[in-house]
Symmetry: C2
Subunit: 512 residues, 2 copies
């Protein structure tokens, strides 16, 4: 019964997809055979996508999206809406909007779609009767977990834990993951200071009144241009765009410099190394200064690649030295992999590229992982219950989906595919630099996590607009970069289309 | 096809349920007819639950839960775990644990289950092909919403919006709802102060460095014993238990007194009114004091009933006066209905009991609403995009589930049922006071949102333990209260079982 009803669903999806893009694709699966049972993951293949984008409207957003934006604007501020999307008709790496425009998606919902739209593995997870309860009975995970929680954690998060990190805490979103990772750092700092003594009555009472010593003057060090979320703790560590922070009270915590390199890297090794060393020296100074003035640095939080603040990459040398400083100063090293985690750099976790002797103390995740949370070293486990806690603490239904995502990543060697596609992508971006040196520069990337800078923010915005009109859905990073954030199933054929249309747009602008 | 496969699922659930509790219940539905199509909600009835709890193990948690706690403890701190739960076999108001114990649930996952476990309406929502995409294609809701978002918001959140509030912002959880509601208050305060002038370069630059004036010295007033979440902003407004706050840096924001009444209310009207007036005077003073010292109060956040900090109720008089103070001081009034919202007080929103001339400025929600978020007055809409924003901004699949929940609440007149059951519950609690005046006091409640105090925290904890052994799953509030947090389908029959077993436990303890 389940099998039949699933096939019906697929047939309906195929019908909708056909409605959306005419006759660009008819068969929904690359291989003909498809058995939608719970254990049939190996028989399922990725969807057979259209061959190329198709734009039907003269403007983007089209008239239907514009109409829906107006309607939504009666309920909430709708000005940031780019498109209303027909998710039923979207497929794989192709996003179909309400007007029937079909975009090749290199933005993937701000980097949060792991396999593509309507992937059969996720439809299966949804239809699997073994998952029904997870979708409709959301538990208070920290006190009343489902009896299969340990199995689910092992089959999902723990199966991809960063080497050396064996504990994990789930959370509902990226911001909450960051906030709780920082709390874990503070708990550890104070536990170390207390050195076994009991919590005093003064500490208990003062913390309830938001006062010292129960609420200590501890700090978390973050980095210029970094982004870690928009709740009050996370936002105090975010320094990418003023519009995120303006008017919000903030913790006065230390903000360290992050290296901004010259490209191409191979031609600027000496200068970039000097940049690294200068940043590292300032970081060391900053920690010591805050420690001296009674506002000790309990932790630092850093992205492997600053994915909102301009796609700024730190070198392997920089991060290895940063970890050494953190260790020597007893500062908890929090690596924020909300955007870089789950494969887009060609390794499951971006920090694996650094080849550290031992992993960061905490690694946060969300987005493509479908659930928020963080991995951590055993000493960062809180000393008592209910210190890291909230009602939901995540959502088992997201673990059920993630389990299938991970199976597909492994089965289809998607990390290898990302590496191969990423090489082609970077080559294509560098060729754009060679062809249009007056327009673009600083091509950079690991895996498909790539970016290229434009001479002005205005030019970047114009290019994004024109790419939309050519059927490439994309977005920016920082002031003047185009950022590429694809799914893990984005392959060389997709890349050819993207690079071709990027070059076309640059050629248009070069000639105008 | 869907119909048949759903029936299969139900049959499987019935089989599992039978395995769990022997032959306590055989038929899954009160009425025999059941058509599980997408539009057949009206034909579906609530599940036919077991007649009473059944405890099979000598201790709670039982051996299987204990084994699983040990296993989970290799992955994360598992000491707060109460039970591992067999959610597949749980049904309606009955929670089945991994050992096959069947509890009548008066805690409902910290008040977050609206209709009961495995409710047919939710199974339908899950199986409805129209919802497939919502479950597997989680969008970046703030830029690329699904084309049916407006319809979904109207059918779910807007259909139960507090009277007078027509705008809504979704969020993924309660803490994020609170954090963003506070940000909206800060934005409004500064917009008002700016009075049309442009944001200065100094404001832009200073906020990126976490400094004044871009990061202003504004504050949010919260209340003693209040609970609003555990992220840094929300936690600065939380004052219920020290273990939530200890070691976490905090904003030094004003903390106001919340009235603690004498019970029974009808015998203590004069004294309680005096308590209200004293609190109100201090609140007024506190706002003026913070305003004078350059740390203006932009908003206040308050629960209608302090649901974590001891089930402290504020009177209609108190809240009406509080709103007047807020209005006169231009302080945004944020009513946190994360725990009280969605019907447990017998009105959809607890603040409706206050009969305010106009609603609170912001009403936050989560838990039983299945999605986080907040309703707000139009002037609190941010003046620019991306100020209230994150990647997911909620989850359309939760709106799909909520839509069905609301239909059932309306169809089955569940708010009326809550009122009726609540009256019986409060009567039963008051009878306990009369019978055991040396053990319990201060019975209080609105709807089924009830509590009763014990003479000591130790007695409260002992009662909870014994109630578990008698098949009542329950929990505490504050230092010495038992809190009742049922689903909306908890009826008089359920209540009879709870009250009977509570009296039995008290009788045992009274005689020991």
């Amino acid at each position: 019964m389940v099998r039949s009803s699933n096939l019906n669903v697929f047939a309906a999806a195929a019908k909708r997809a056909t409605n959306c893009d005419g006759n660009l694709y008819v068969n929904l699966f690359r291989r003909g055979k498809h058995t939608a049972t719970a254990t049939a993951t190996n028989d399922v293949d990725i969807v057979n996508e259209p061959k190329e984008p198709l734009i039907r409207t003269a403007t983007i957003p089209g008239p239907k999206s514009i109409e829906l934006i107006k309607e939504l604007n009666t309920i909430q501020l709708a000005s940031p809406i780019q498109l209303f999307v027909d998710y039923e008709s979207s497929i794989g790496n192709y996003l179909c909007d309400a007007d029937g425009n079909l975009f090749l998606d290199i933005y993937s919902q701000i980097s949060s779609i792991p396999l593509g739209y309507n992937h059969p593995a996720l439809i299966e997870a949804l239809r699997d009767p073994a998952n029904t309860s997870a979708f409709i009975n959301r538990p208070a995970l920290g006190i009343l977990p489902p009896k299969d929680l340990v199995d689910r954690l092992r089959a999902s998060l723990l199966s991809v834990a960063p080497p050396g990190l064996n504990e994990v805490q789930t959370m509902a979103c990226g911001s909450c993951s960051v906030e709780n990772a920082m709390k874990a750092a503070f708990f550890w700092y104070q536990t170390r200071i207390r050195d076994g003594r009991e919590v005093t009555r003064e500490e208990m009472d003062s913390c309830l009144a938001n006062q010292y010593p129960g609420s200590p003057y501890l700090t978390i060090m973050s980095f210029k241009h970094g982004f870690h979320g928009r709740t009050f703790g996370a936002l105090s560590c975010t320094h990418s765009k003023y519009i995120h922070k303006l008017d919000v009270p903030s913790f006065d915590w230390p903000i360290a410099p992050f290296p901004i390199y010259r490209y191409p890297l191979e031609d600027n090794e000496r200068e970039n190394k000097a940049t690294d060393d200068q940043c590292l020296e300032e970081i060391q100074d900053l920690i010591e200064r805050f420690n001296r003035k009674g506002r000790p640095v309990a932790g630092l939080i850093v992205e492997p690649i600053q994915g909102e603040g301009g796609d700024n990459h730190g070198s392997k040398y920089f991060f290895n030295q940063l970890q050494k400083i953190a260790k020597s100063q007893q500062v908890v090293f929090i690596c924020d992999e909300v955007q870089t985690g789950c494969g887009p750099t060609g390794k499951f976790w971006a920090h694996e590229h650094w080849e550290l002797d031992n992993p960061p103390d905490i690694v946060t995740f969300s987005k493509k992982m479908l659930t928020g949370g963080y991995f951590y070293k055993a000493h960062l486990r809180p000393d008592q219950g209910f210190r890291i806690f909230n009602t939901w603490l995540g959502d088992p239904s997201k673990l059920a989906l993630l389990e299938r995502v991970i199976k597909v990543i492994k089965r289809d060697n998607l990390l290898e595919s990302v590496k191969e596609t990423g090489k082609e992508m970077l080559k294509g971006l560098k060729e754009a630099e060679t062809r249009f040196p007056g327009l673009v520069s600083r091509s950079r990337g690991v895996g498909t996590f790539c970016a290229i800078d434009f001479v002005t923010p205005e030019l970047r915005n114009e290019v994004i607009k024109r790419l939309h009109l050519k059927g490439i859905h994309c977005g920016g990073s920082g002031a003047a970069a185009l950022r590429v954030r694809t799914t893990l199933t984005f392959n060389k054929n997709h890349n050819d289309i993207f690079i071709d249309r990027l070059h076309n747009v640059l050629a248009e602008l070069n000639n105008s």
